[in-house]
């Protein structure tokens, strides 16, 4: 029977990849005029990347903590939908503007989350939208994105 996979190997490999990428990127930096004293622009990032590589190696050789896997439940389809909704918030802001997008996002995210009546969600979403408008736009004078629709309607 095969033994359980050590998740530290994958994590260590990812960290090592980041460190190698960082070292590789330092070769693309503009050259520094010769004769400057002390460290140049590339040495410190390379030093830190080398330390990262060493730590990744140590992590790869370390047994995984058993608590770690228990703490990470599987990502459900509903969670993926909420993630997608979070990503979709930015295009929504670009189209209808930040203030109208907030209650819509809060209502849909709340419905996807579940466990709370839709009327409670709708009222709290509306309340949150109005509070944000009052605090950030009226009191702090923050200019929030108006979106394509807001610009078209001349807000």
């Amino acid at each position: 029977m095969r033994g359980a996979r050590n998740p530290n190997h994958a994590i260590a490999a990812s960290i090592a990849a980041v460190a190698f990428a960082a070292i590789a990127a330092t070769f693309t930096f503009d050259p520094v005029p010769p004769g400057l004293p002390g460290l140049g622009a590339v040495e410190f990032p390379r030093l830190v990347s080398a330390i990262l590589l060493l730590l990744a190696l140590i992590l790869g050789l370390t047994a995984a903590s058993s608590a770690n896997e228990d703490d990470s439940p599987r990502i459900s389809s509903r969670a993926w939908l909420i993630f997608a909704l979070c990503l979709g918030f930015l295009p929504l802001v670009e189209i209808i503007g930040m203030i109208p997008a907030i209650p819509i996002f809060l209502l849909v995210a709340g419905l996807l989350w579940g466990g709370t009546p839709w009327l409670t969600l709708a009222l709290s979403a509306l309340g949150m939208g109005i509070s944000i408008w009052l605090v950030f736009v009226k009191i702090f004078r923050l200019t929030l994105p108006k979106g394509w629709l807001g610009s078209m309607l001349g807000f």
């Binding site: 998740p7 960290i15 980041v18 960082a22 990127a25 330092t26 930096f29 503009d30 400057l36 004293p37 002390g38 460290l39 140049g40 622009a41 590339v42 410190f44 990032p45 830190v48 990347s49 990262l52 730590l55 990744a56 140590i58 992590l59 370390t62 903590s65 608590a67 770690n68 703490d71 990470s72 439940p73 990502i75 459900s76 509903r78 969670a79 909420i82 979070c86 918030f89 930015l90 802001v93 930040m98 996002f105 809060l106 995210a109 709340g110 419905l111 989350w113 579940g114 466990g115 709370t116 409670t120 969600l121 949150m128 944000i132 950030f136 702090f140 923050l142 200019t143 929030l144 994105p145």
Partner: protein, 492 residues
């Protein structure tokens, strides 16, 4: 003393006093919300403080920090769900007391011991920080470099899944700090032609992403259910008999908390856990532990609040954060144009003493609020996650967008949020990354300056006793697990 009186005078300014009170109420509120910690809130509030000016801003953030630790104990006692990680030790005995019908007494003892621990540590801060700053006047770049290395090495003990993962997160933070223009050579590093990266990684979007959005995404996966609350009549002030019983625990917790807090990187959670263990070890009523011991509430609560003042000592005196939360406050100070360190004590003593006074006031405020409004704050945990977490996401978006009104910063915040989420799923803590990000610039700058002073000869560090001592302590601390394993294997 004169400076402190000056700080108290500033506190009498109604605007500053209002910000301290607001910070205290907000701190208790968010501290009581499971999942939202003081550090998350301070990260979220950072953009709002930019327009306030340094004194109200730092007083507001300091008050949140003080009160959030106490707020965490309310839900730890009432629903067995620590609102703040630092209250996890309080839940062990506090919830058992609540089950026995002693919730009011547990909350009362939590409020009183928290305030005693907090006030004790602020007096230590008032005395120790100027002394440390005076000692640090003789520090040059090599000493500051060694101190930054020591501070980052302490991240290994910050908690989380493993010391190696904490060090990796810290190193990633230092690497992130190198993004943008190198000030000594003018070379652009890791910017890849992206305008938002050319000036370096901005603290605010990264902090909000790592703490608030990362936690929100994690909660989406966990989809925590609503909490069930235990009935409570009112928090009550502990009587003389209870005080006498807990006297030793409170002072032990206060001293341990202040000391642990003053060590770079270690904060209130570590202090509370050590405070709990030591309270149990020195208690005359060991048999009560695990069944609802009031000493088991008093010790860790005094310790986690004492860690607040303790962690401000290196933050203000040396510019080295004493905890993840003070790393965020440090970032807030830098955003305000204030550079913490020994010179702050001569250049802006009023600001410093206003901070001390505001923290003292916050402790007194939450003592009053904790005793009289605990029942209200305990109900906060009943806010449905379906309302709470999407709201946190929206506030994060506005928080990242606000300072520069740039959607690019929102994208950076979202990327940091995904990193924070992946960190939590793989057993990493985001706190060391923040420490690395805050200290990385200072570390590189002081290393470069040191090498110029030493004529590129690294061995010259040996001629600087303070720097050498700090580097040796760092090396010993990092190698200790290997050395102890070697000795154990020889012994076996």
């Amino acid at each position: 003393m004169e400076g402190f009186l000056g700080g108290l005078a500033i506190l009498l300014d109604p605007w500053v006093m209002f910000m301290v009170l607001l910070g205290t109420v907000l701190g208790i509120f968010v501290g009581a919300l499971p999942g939202i910690s003081g550090s998350t809130t301070i990260a979220l509030m950072l953009p709002l403080t930019i327009t306030m000016g340094p004194i109200p801003a730092i007083c507001f953030l300091g008050a949140i920090y003080c009160a959030a630790n106490f707020g965490g104990s309310i839900t730890a006692i009432m629903v067995n769900a620590p609102g703040d990680p630092s209250a996890s030790a309080t839940a062990l005995e506090g919830y058992k007391m609540a089950e026995k019908g002693q919730a009011g007494l547990a909350l009362g003892m939590s409020a009183v011991s928290s305030a005693i621990g907090g006030i004790f540590s602020i007096f230590v801060l008032i005395i120790a920080a100027p002394l440390l700053a005076r000692a640090a006047y003789s520090f040059g770049p090599p000493e500051y470099f060694a101190l930054a290395v020591f501070g980052l090495s302490m991240c290994a003990a910050i908690g989380g899944d493993s010391a190696v993962k904490n060090l990796i997160a810290a190193a990633l933070g230092v690497l992130l700090a190198t993004v943008g223009m190198d000030l000594t050579t003018g070379t652009e590093r890791f910017a890849f032609g992206i305008d938002e990266l050319a000036d370096g990684i901005k603290f605010v979007p990264v902090l909000i992403g790592l703490f608030a959005v990362g936690e929100m995404l994690d909660q989406v996966v966990r989809r925590a259910e609503k909490s069930k609350i235990i009935a409570l009549d009112a928090a009550r002030v502990p009587g003389m008999a209870e005080f006498r019983k807990c006297n030793r625990s409170i002072w032990l917790g206060s001293v341990i908390g202040t000391f642990i807090g003053a060590l770079p990187a270690l904060g209130a959670t570590t202090a509370a856990l050590i405070g709990y263990n030591e309270t149990r070890r020195w208690s005359k009523h060991k048999e009560e532990f695990g069944k609802g011991s009031i000493e088991g509430v008093a010790g860790p609560e005094a310790a986690n609040n004492a860690a607040v003042g303790g962690s401000m000592v290196p933050t203000l005196a040396l510019g080295i954060p004493g905890s993840a939360t003070t790393a965020i406050i440090l970032a807030g100070l830098i955003v305000q144009g204030v550079r913490p360190g020994p010179h702050l004590f001569t250049e802006q003593p009023t600001l410093l003493y206003a901070v001390f006074a505001s923290m003292l006031a916050a402790n007194l405020f939450y003592l009053g609020l904790g005793l009289y409004m605990a029942r209200f704050f305990a109900r906060i945990s009943l806010i449905p996650p379906a309302i709470l977490w999407p709201s946190v996401f929206v506030l994060s978006i506005i928080g990242a967008y606000g300072p520069d009104q740039s959607m690019g910063d929102v994208v950076i915040m979202l990327v940091a949020g995904v990193v924070g989420f992946l960190f939590r799923r793989t057993g990493f803590s985001p706190a060391p990354l923040i420490m690395g990000l805050v200290l990385g610039g200072k570390m590189e700058e002081t290393l470069k300056q040191s090498l110029i002073i030493f004529g590129d000869d690294v061995s010259m560090f040996a001629t600087r006793p303070i720097a050498m001592t700090l580097l040796c302590i760092t090396a010993a601390g990092l190698l200790w697990p290997l050395i102890s394993r070697f000795w154990r294997s020889r012994g076996a």
